[in-house]
């Protein structure tokens, strides 16, 4: 592990573990709100699901900490798949597993590689769930986040700023799901009645990206 992180390759296993702690804390804290969002257009379990999964992932990583950022992400993804269930378990599990696999054995990676990993993960979510933009799913937070991250990095921004931009975009994206009519997942059964409610999965995605930005900023 790097005592003084390489500014060019700031993302190591410790970074991902700090992110995991922040993410797990966010899921724990926001569990009731996520479940509340999942009530009018879902089955009132999203907060419980995410909380259970991320607490389990943190325990798994603490018990047998992988040494690479990719290794941590893969283990988190696998733990989510094994403990969450529901739609979000396989989807978030795939997101993180694919992202981790993209990083391979690398010990520390740049923000650009993290962006590649996120892209691989998001592609995995889209392929598995078959959803696209504006279907009122977690992709409506993840895709804007990916775009913002890419844009900021392309414009020469640093990791922390780029992730802050991604976090803002994810937040925006989550909020923008409110007027949408759901076409995937449980909310789609409601048809027009799904309009007017913010998507719980997009909301949890925004929380995860925000945790990432906080980690980069050194807040956690």
């Amino acid at each position: 592990m790097n005592a003084t992180p390489d500014p060019e390759a700031p993302v190591d296993a410790a970074f991902v573990r700090r992110w995991l702690d922040a993410a797990a804390a966010a899921m724990d804290r926001e569990s009731a709100r996520l479940t509340e969002l999942d009530s009018p257009i879902g089955d009132a379990d999203h907060g419980t699901n995410m909380r259970r999964g991320f607490l389990a992932a943190r325990t798994a990583v603490e018990q047998d900490p992988p040494e690479t950022p990719g290794g941590v992400l893969v283990l988190v993804g696998r733990t989510l798949i094994s403990t969450v269930g529901g739609a979000s378990g396989p989807l978030y599990g795939t997101l993180l597993r694919r992202a981790g696999k993209e990083l391979g054995e690398e010990q520390a990676v740049s923000a650009a590689r993290l962006r590649d990993a996120l892209r691989a993960g998001v592609d995995g979510v889209a392929a598995l769930g078959g959803a696209g933009p504006e279907d009122k799913t977690m992709l409506d937070a993840l895709l804007p986040a990916l775009d913002a991250l890419t844009g900021a990095l392309d414009a020469g921004g640093g990791a922390a700023d780029a992730l802050a931009a991604a976090s803002a975009a994810a937040d925006e994206g989550a909020k923008a799901t409110t007027p949408l009519r759901a076409r995937k997942g449980r909310a789609s059964y409601l048809g027009e009645r799904s309009v007017g409610h913010q998507d719980p999965g997009a909301t949890s995605s925004a929380l995860l990206i925000t945790a990432l930005a906080e980690t980069a900023r050194g807040d956690v």
Binding site: I81, V84, G89, Y189
Partner: protein, 330 residues
């Protein structure tokens, strides 16, 4: 909302312990959340595995036994189980004749069973999955996750289970399951929302004087809210929905299913109206089952499932079954 529970997090684990105590004839792995028929795998027999979120009891755990499922995988309340459960169940019931996964069409169930099928095949188990999607309340399936799997699950588990019990091979058992699914339609009505332990209160608001048409079994609101109707009117709406969609031209099985909190007395009265509504539409009824089979915790309301049957399906329906939730002929 008061519940007969300890803490919300342990509801499923507690229920499994209590289920195990009540059903020593089944093997219940409380830790790993797999319920297996004692003696499985049975030599040469196709293994039937189903599962889904908890809160629909007796579905699925109550349908493990002779002539029905070989294993069930209960998830958290209204949350599909994780792949590990189905992988373990498949390994436990595979005799070499292969395993059928019966999967209700919800994104979560579909994805988790899909992952499990891949993992189980990696371990050398031949898996075929069939999707249950009988709920006609979900209409424009281009813009949705598709029809939900509800009451027809019972018909499929029973009929495919009877065929497997007789020694039918995997492709035949799967074909029968698909045939039953294609011949089945369900429509559900809620008089009240259910309360999940995690939320601690109703999952949606349903004012006095209104009912919700086209509900699923996960406490999701339905597609339409109407002023409260009589049992006869509800039967007309419900029967019309399933009959006009299936257009049966032969005898049907009928399941008049309680959502959980509606008294059996009301359910039987509702059945009288369902039978009338079917007779008015000249749909002959071969068999009727009335009770709480595919429930939604403490939701008040009912669903009606019909399944058009030929002689073979009817014979398999009538075949012996011995499970905690459904038992006859043995």
């Amino acid at each position: 909302m008061k519940m007969l529970i300890n803490v919300a997090e342990n509801v499923v684990a507690d229920a499994l312990r209590g289920f195990a105590a009540a059903h020593p004839e089944l093997t219940v792995d409380v830790e790993r959340r797999v319920i297996v028929r004692r003696g499985a795998p049975y030599e040469g027999k196709v293994g039937l595995v189903s599962g889904g979120g908890s809160g629909h009891e007796p579905l699925h755990g109550g349908f493990v036994g002779k002539g029905m499922l070989d294993a069930a995988c209960p998830g958290e309340v209204f949350t599909s189980p994780v792949p590990d459960q189905m992988v373990r169940a498949a390994a436990a019931v595979d005799s070499g004749a292969g395993v059928l996964f019966i999967v209700k069409n919800y994104t979560g169930d579909v994805l988790n069973f899909q992952m499990a099928a891949e993992l189980a095949e990696d371990e050398g188990v031949q898996v075929v999955s069939v999707l249950v999607d009988d709920d006609v309340a979900v209409t424009d399936s281009l813009y949705t996750a598709g029809r939900r799997g509800t009451g027809a699950t019972l018909f499929i588990e029973k009929i495919a289970g009877a065929a497997a019990e007789e020694g039918a091979p995997l492709d035949r058992v799967a074909a029968l399951a698909r045939q039953v699914n294609a011949a089945s339609r369900t429509f559900g009505v809620a008089l009240s929302a259910c309360s999940t332990p995690a939320k601690g209160g109703p999952t949606f608001d349903l004012p006095e004087g209104e009912l919700e048409l086209g509900v699923g079994i996960h406490g999701e609101p339905g597609r339409e809210r109407r002023a409260m109707m009589t049992s006869g009117e509800i039967a007309d709406v419900t029967v019309e929905a399933v009959v006009s969609d299936l257009n049966p031209d032969g005898p049907v099985l009928v399941l008049v299913n309680g959502m959980g909190a509606t008294p059996l007395l009301e359910l039987y009265g509702f059945n009288a109206e369902v039978q009338r509504a079917l007779a008015e539409r000249r749909v002959p009824v071969a068999r009727t089952l009335v009770g709480n089979y595919v429930t939604s915790l403490d939701m008040a309301g009912a669903s009606v499932t019909i399944c058009q049957v030929d002689e073979e399906l009817l014979r398999l329906w009538d075949a012996p079954v011995s499970t905690p939730g459904l038992r006859w002929g043995c």
